[in-house]
Point group: C2
Chain length 342, copies 2
Amino acid sequence: MANITDVAKLAGVSHQTVSRVLNDATVRPATKARVDAAIRELNYRPSSAARALVTRKSNAIGLIATGAPLYGPSSTMLAFNEAARAAGYQVTIASMTSVDREAMVSAVEVLLGQRVEALVLIVADVAAFDAIAGLEIGVPLITAESSGREGFLSVSIDQFAGARLAVRHLIELGHRNILHVKGPDWSVDAAERERGWRAELEASGLPVAPPLVGTWLADSGYAIGAELTRTGAVGVRGATAIFSANDQMAIGLLHALADAGLRVPGDASVVGFDDIPESVHYSPPLTTVRQDFADLGARMMETLLQVLDGRQPLEPAQATPELILRASTAPAIPLPNREVNA
Amino acid sequence: MANITDVAKLAGVSHQTVSRVLNDATVRPATKARVDAAIRELNYRPSSAARALVTRKSNAIGLIATGAPLYGPSSTMLAFNEAARAAGYQVTIASMTSVDREAMVSAVEVLLGQRVEALVLIVADVAAFDAIAGLEIGVPLITAESSGREGFLSVSIDQFAGARLAVRHLIELGHRNILHVKGPDWSVDAAERERGWRAELEASGLPVAPPLVGTWLADSGYAIGAELTRTGAVGVRGATAIFSANDQMAIGLLHALADAGLRVPGDASVVGFDDIPESVHYSPPLTTVRQDFADLGARMMETLLQVLDGRQPLEPAQATPELILRASTAPAIPLPNREVNA
DNA sequence: TCACGAAATGTGATCGATCACATTGCATGC
DNA sequence: GCATGCAATGTGATCGATCACATTTCGTGA
């Protein structure tokens, strides 16, 4: 592949003049035209490695992605990448299946070797935080999570508030026994949603049963739902509402409830979280909490730009999610004997 | 950040010796220990830019992702990235919302500036092919698509065979009027699935109605389903089966059919494509065609490695997808008057 | 003890861009 | 006609690694 000297020779100018053409410095139109022609003829593209070496700016951002191809992380990642591109940054990804400390360290190591100017952590995983906290990374790290830890930049959607919205809606419908199907224990977002559920129940003086821990995947929602119906924990003599920490587990729940002959929302109301594009087509359509992941990704990049420009990042305005009402929730039917059994 | 000379000075050796330690050349254990200590003390990480400059190997692969965060592409991307990491390659992404020629050119331009050793195109988009075909990229390009074009490496899952499996299953159940909800016109995979549907119908001498074009998203499946039930094109006097080009559109279809009071599979059978984790929890659980995206991503990297090593890539063994039978398909009930109306 | 070859280490050039600074070209004013 | 100033262009150093080659160190056998 041609280099800047080849271009200069062909155009009959010095390499510096070619550099000026590349960087929009003042060059006489006639000269610029000759250089441009040479560039096209040689199919020349400046080497970003050489450029990064001397300017000490890589224009690259490292993105650490973990785990499964879930809707939220994937959306955030794409949106972030889009925003980064618009700002003139390249994104290099380091994905990992398991989130042990070793994998995290090696991912960070490789990215820092690339002299990325910042790190982005897409999945808020408590292990990931601990792993990174022990490293001297020397560049800003931004994450999409809710419980602002010291030392990390964070842009987030208010999971706590979202969960409260969902649970309050159920309480307002008259539900008094509201279960929670939680995301995995390692997830910061799952913890926040649980906290919101718990806070809202406690604020209303309602009982708080231990949350049921799932995997984010529909299968776990189904397994939990099957167990709940088997033991009768949900339905006529049990809970009349379930708040699921994401839509995928909610569809598993709906399936299990249907299998057990329970009607939604007749026998139990179900609320999800995320508003994935399919949730409006669930059977029944799912009441859920909408998160704007595209906006999240864009805001992450915005905040990052502020820090990279040496400005203090603005107060991390947490976006508030929105409750989307659909057919999976309905008023609880007050049964005279429920109070006794609860 | 420290460089190799700083480390050399601190360890009391030459920069070349440090380089040897980094590259596992022969260094006396005592010397190596001193160098390692200096590296740790300075928190030194070799600059991949400087390394790339002199070795003329970037160890980077450019990945071009387009469009929405769909399950298949996301899974493939993660799997590919994982495989690349295992092989010692970094992946740089260039995503784009629209797939016009200009966006594609600029994405390729940026990646080639990074001196990526290969390009990976995740979403097989006919416009993407045309856009890239016009560029002299000078590095191997691999794509996950089915209809092998000249000049592109391709690893794929046999969409054509998968579609035939699905349609043959419907035919064997006695269905004679089988509609197809197709993916977007720009999608190579969508075209292959349509071709499979068409081939199987023609092989059995069954009528081929024009396919209904969706967007891959559930909403489009719902809209198509609503229109089909409104006009009576599906149901008692119309089609008794629908082959949807992906699972998301299938859930939209199921929703629309349920809204119209049609039972699945009683009044119409539905088959999807992809086997996303939720499809077993649809109502009813969806018969679908399973694709192993993780395997696809890994095989893409494998093929790429062969080419990068100068070997001829092995015959691109197309993986064959697998039909997953679930409750959304059942034998057609032969109606005496159906033949007349068909 | 010394020569010898292999192992270990050091020296200077190099990759391809930008930066800092030097030089040339050209129009303007006196 | 010539000094002046600005615009345009050129020259050499630089970034941080590896490569090619030179040199030193070390262990071994005569």
